[in-house]
Amino acid sequence: MQPFDYLIPGDHAEASALLAAGNGRVRPFMGGTDLLIRTRGGFVRPQAVVDLKGLPGMKEIRPGDDGWLIIGAACTMNQVAMHPLVQARYDLLVQACNSVASYQLRNRATIGGNCCNASPAADTAPALYCLEAVAEIYGPQGIRRIPIAQFFVGPGKTALRSGEFLTSLHLPPSPQDARGVFNKLGRTKMGDISVVSVAVYRRSGRLADPTAPATGEWRIALGAVGPTPLRAAEAEAALMQDTSPAGIRVAAALAAAAARPIDDIRASAAYRRAMVAVLARRGIEAVLADLSAARAQLPAAGGAS
């Protein structure tokens, strides 16, 4: 491996200045689980890495205003997955974090790093897309916030500009009656990068009153089937109209139609597209089953005595 300098910035401004001055040859460094491998392989040749983990807030998970949750970009996968506030409201994200690589790797790999690599197969991305997370970015012009779907620009490309880095992910409030399921296909049972992944998320709005008209939202996000993670908007809209078995099949087909997969050594485009439909259908069915089980456990809210 080519030698490089390891820099610990004193504050956000210094980190930003170091990154900006490095002109691409200075890389932000968090868990290092991708960066070090790519450096060793000669795919990137950093002159220096700037370790962002020690900056204030980077490793913190804390409640924000109005029911939001703020996850520092350098929080590890295991840290996120085991945090009570995440477990309480964002089970979908817990599932996604727990599907990444192996336990040991999840002790190093960070949720921010997963986003900043901008792999279309990033396992946390479909969950973050469904949760409509907001990325907080620090840079020479100060702080800006953009939706996660604008953060991913293309394979390996993010919206980060020179001198900018991701500081945290802000999750909007997720109601108690929200349910999500993350499914992925890998070539091994553990550790493989996704061949296809699908997150399904339902903000029900009628858990307490199943007779109320359909409210809230269905959200479906797809991984590893396009240049970035994708939302399947038409499938989401269709589910709002119809969640009968036939309606689910229609939505799953619409999700598959939204995919823009390619052939690569892991799978063909045709297989990936077909699997989007299978995983979407299974995800929707699992979410509905989960909601139905949750309703059954409600203490007869507004119902018979």
Partner: protein
């Protein structure tokens, strides 16, 4: 016969060092003042090297020397024929050595003060290439063989000749003719026919190729490296360097897995060459090299991909009448051991059965792919996939239980092999089949017929699934069995050396055993010590092993062909008898040296295949229970049973370890390991693109059953067993997937996408 030490689960003698991290593998060895070597690989599948300019590399920081073809005295090597240049390029005087024939051909060596400097300087070597046409399909390379089960047509023109010595690109072939094949098909009530394709497999041993070379205190070129046969490495090095054997010394430290992939040379000759040429320049410093994983994957041979055409017939009563088989193996760029691998496929492609009428034609063909090489099972897994899939088809066509049809036809003592001679005695095939079948739930009725387990036994783990996948899951069960030779064969006089020195006064205080056989991680040195202790009648703790150094002992042969326990045991018993005689004679130390010679074998007759190919065999039967997700194509082996006749388990725990390891490796081959290349370039040259099973991919239940039918010539009745658990696994899985889904898969790995395409007609 009762034994004191044989048959006990003695702790691995190498365990403390490996567990505490004290054991050094070749890549861990560090000597003072050591230099580092990097290798420039061809990176292209077929090209002539017109010119090599090393000036910039030689001038680079830290570089001590750059070596190319012109520095190799005898620029050729190979275990069977010397058809591979040590370094490809002009100037060595060897015809054809200026051509690279696959991406992993080695072109230049750079020696520098640090590994980084050596690797950086490699990139400064400028090569003028003259690209040549690339041929990667054996049926294109050898057009005479195209067309399935028909006679070869040598009049078809060869597109490009890959080696000066081989006009038709067919590097080896076998032919077996037993009985009258047409008569055999006339006797048949059913005939089944299919074409099978088996994939390439990477060995993926934990430790990539590495080693250190230096001149020892006696001035010998010494290479510390991980291989499988010290004395053969020594021969290959001496030949290429044009040196007498005693000027070359090979030592094996700990070996991080081999599986056949270390039989052929990797860094042995190049390291020796570098240390020797440096010494000639007055630089006597050790030279170390470590290949990266990517270099390891492209730089050593793989399991042969094969295409197998099979047409078999049987009578209504289940008795086989005829088997016609043709095999084309992709030999890749060089011979390696293709001739011997093909010999094994030739003998196993008709399965472990007595068949009256047999016609087998097998061919290994040169291409520009990574060479086909030795790999656990050595041609047997390919042969068994076709043979056992044919048996599954026949069972179905006859409406007969797959266990029953096998028991009707399997080889037993005195039955004739396809080579026209009886199989050596002590055949435990019937016992393994019954053991595996009974463990899986098969029953035999009063009329003697066998019945498969009831469906609820196959489906009992259904409650583990979520409701959404339950309806898509189909379960099935598959049976397969197999056999393979133990030891080198086909006329090679098998031999193995051991020497024992007994020290002490009135009683034996220490027994020093000299043995060159390689412990690749399979536990051979532990069972060697157990057998020595048993033969000498001393406690295991008094055995001291000195192993794997050509300067200190004779050749014990290769750690391959499931031979080491068998050969080492007989060698050690012979040495022990002599040492004990000397001890009784009051000699101190009492020394016994012995070379065991196994029963003789013969080559096969080139026209009929008649001969005595082997002196011993091992036997196996397996059952796979699978769950197939019909929507995603994912296949999960929920339960796997392997019954292995090992003759006598010297160390049952190690035997079980070999069965479990072999089964998991074979299930990776069957289901997951998906080698991909395009135009001779390897697309899966990392472990992130070439995936092997993880701990979670191991079957939920993996049951090893030890069967002990003594081998008449094996030490303490033991027979070889390391390869057997591998042999029929892919066929058992394919049969189980068929049982589950009704769709036959005649090629693999059964990746989700392949299965999905099969099930959905895509």
């Amino acid at each position: 016969m009762t034994y004191q030490i044989i048959g006990t689960n003695a702790a691995r003698i190498d365990a403390p060092g490996k567990v505490t991290g004290q054991t050094l593998y070749p890549g861990d060895i560090v000597y003072p003042n050591m230099l580092h070597m990097a290798t420039l690989f061809a990176g292209r599948p077929h090209a002539r090297i017109l010119n090599i300019d090393t000036a910039a590399a030689e001038a680079a920081p830290g570089v001590v020397a750059v070596f190319t073809a012109k520095d190799v005295p005898v620029n050729e090597y190979g275990l069977q024929i010397k058809d591979q240049p040590v370094l490809c390029g002009p100037g060595s005087g060897k015809a054809g050595a200026d051509i690279v024939r696959f991406v992993g051909d080695q072109v230049a060596l750079v020696v520098a003060e640090t590994e980084a400097q050596a690797r950086a300087a490699c990139k400064l070597i400028r090569i003028e290439w003259g690209d040549l046409p690339i041929v990667t399909d054996p049926e294109v390379a050898a057009p005479s063989l195209a067309g399935g089960l028909v006679a070869a047509d040598p009049t078809r023109p060869v597109p490009i000749q890959l080696h000066p010595h081989c006009a038709d690109n067919i590097c080896y072939s076998y032919r077996i003719r037993k009985g009258d094949i047409e008569a055999g098909f006339r006797e048949a009530d059913v005939i089944v026919e299919a074409v099978y394709q088996t994939p390439v497999q990477e060995h993926a041993y934990l430790q990539p190729e590495a080693g250190v070379a230096y001149l020892d205190e006696a001035g010998r070129i010494t290479v510390e490296v991980a291989g499988q046969w010290t004395h053969e490495d020594q021969k290959q090095i001496a030949h290429a360097l044009g040196l007498p054997l005693d000027q070359v010394r090979v030592i094996y430290p700990a070996i991080g897995g081999a599986f056949g992939g270390r039989e052929d040379m990797s860094v042995q000759i190049t390291l020796a060459l570098a240390a020797w040429r440096l010494a000639q320049r007055g630089i006597r410093r050790p030279v170390k090299t470590v290949w990266s994983r990517e270099e390891s994957i492209i730089g050593h041979g793989k399991r042969h991909a094969m295409k197998i055409w099979a047409r078999w017939g049987a009578r209504r009563d289940g008795m086989l009448t005829a088997a016609q088989v043709k095999v084309i193996a992709d030999g890749g760029a060089y011979m390696y051991t293709s001739n011997k691998v093909l010999g094994n496929t030739t003998q196993t492609c008709t399965g472990p059965y007595e068949i009256p009428h047999v016609a087998v034609d097998t061919y290994a063909v040169y291409t520009n792919n990574v060479p086909g090489a030795a790999f656990r099972g050595f041609g047997g897994p390919q042969g068994h996939f076709a043979a056992e899939s044919q048996m599954d088809r026949l069972a179905e066509a006859l409406g007969m239980d797959p266990v029953e049809i096998r028991l009707k036809n399997v080889l037993t003592d005195e039955k004739l092999l396809t080579t026209g001679t009886p199989i050596p005695g002590g055949v435990g095939l019937t016992e393994t089949i019954i053991a595996a079948a009974r463990a899986a739930g098969w029953t035999q009725d009063e009329a003697g017929h066998w019945h498969r387990p009831a469906n609820q036994q196959i489906s009992k783990s259904a409650n583990h699934e979520s409701r959404t996948t339950q309806h898509a899951t189909r379960r099935g069960i598959g049976f397969a069995c197999g056999f393979k030779n133990v030891g080198f064969s086909l006329g090679y006089q098998e031999n193995s050396y051991a020497r024992i020195e007994l020290r002490g006064g009135g009683e034996i205080a220490e027994a020093v055993v000299y043995f060159a056989g390689a412990d690749c991680g399979q536990g051979n040195h532990t069972v060697l010590a157990q057998m020595a202790a048993e033969a000498l009648g001393v406690p295991l703790a008094r055995i001291k092993l000195i192993t794997s150094d050509t300067a200190l002992m004779g050749s014990s042969g290769s750690a391959s062909a499931s031979r080491l326990t068998y050969m080492a045991g007989n060698a050690v018993r012979g040495a022990a008898a002599k040492a004990l005689a000397a001890w009784r004679n009051e000699e101190r130390p009492a020394v016994g040296e012995f070379v065991y010679l196994a029963p003789k074998t013969t080559p096969l007759d080139p026209e009929t295949g008649y001969g005595v190919p082997n002196f011993a065999y091992g036997y196996v039967a397996q059952v796979a229970f699978v769950a197939v997700d019909t929507e995603t194509g994912q296949v999960r082996v929920e339960r796997f049973i392997s019954a292995d006749d090992v003759g006598k388990a010297i160390n049952p725990q190690q035997v079980i370890g070999q069965i479990e390891g072999g089964a998991v490796q074979a299930l990776g081959y069957a289901l997951q390991e998906h080698w991909q290349s395009r135009e001779g370039r390897v697309l899966t040259d990392r472990l992130s693109t070439y995936l092997i099973p993880t701990a979670l991919d191991v079957p939920d239940k993996l049951e090893a059953i030890i069967v002990e039918v003594p081998d008449p010539n094996g030490p303490f009745g033991a027979r070889g067993m390391g390869e057997m658990p591998y042999l029929p696994a892919a066929a058992a899985v394919a049969a189980a997937v068929y049982d589950a889904t009704g769709v036959r898969f005649d090629d693999f790995p059964l990746t989700p996408e392949r299965v999905w395409r099969g099930l959905h007609g895509r």
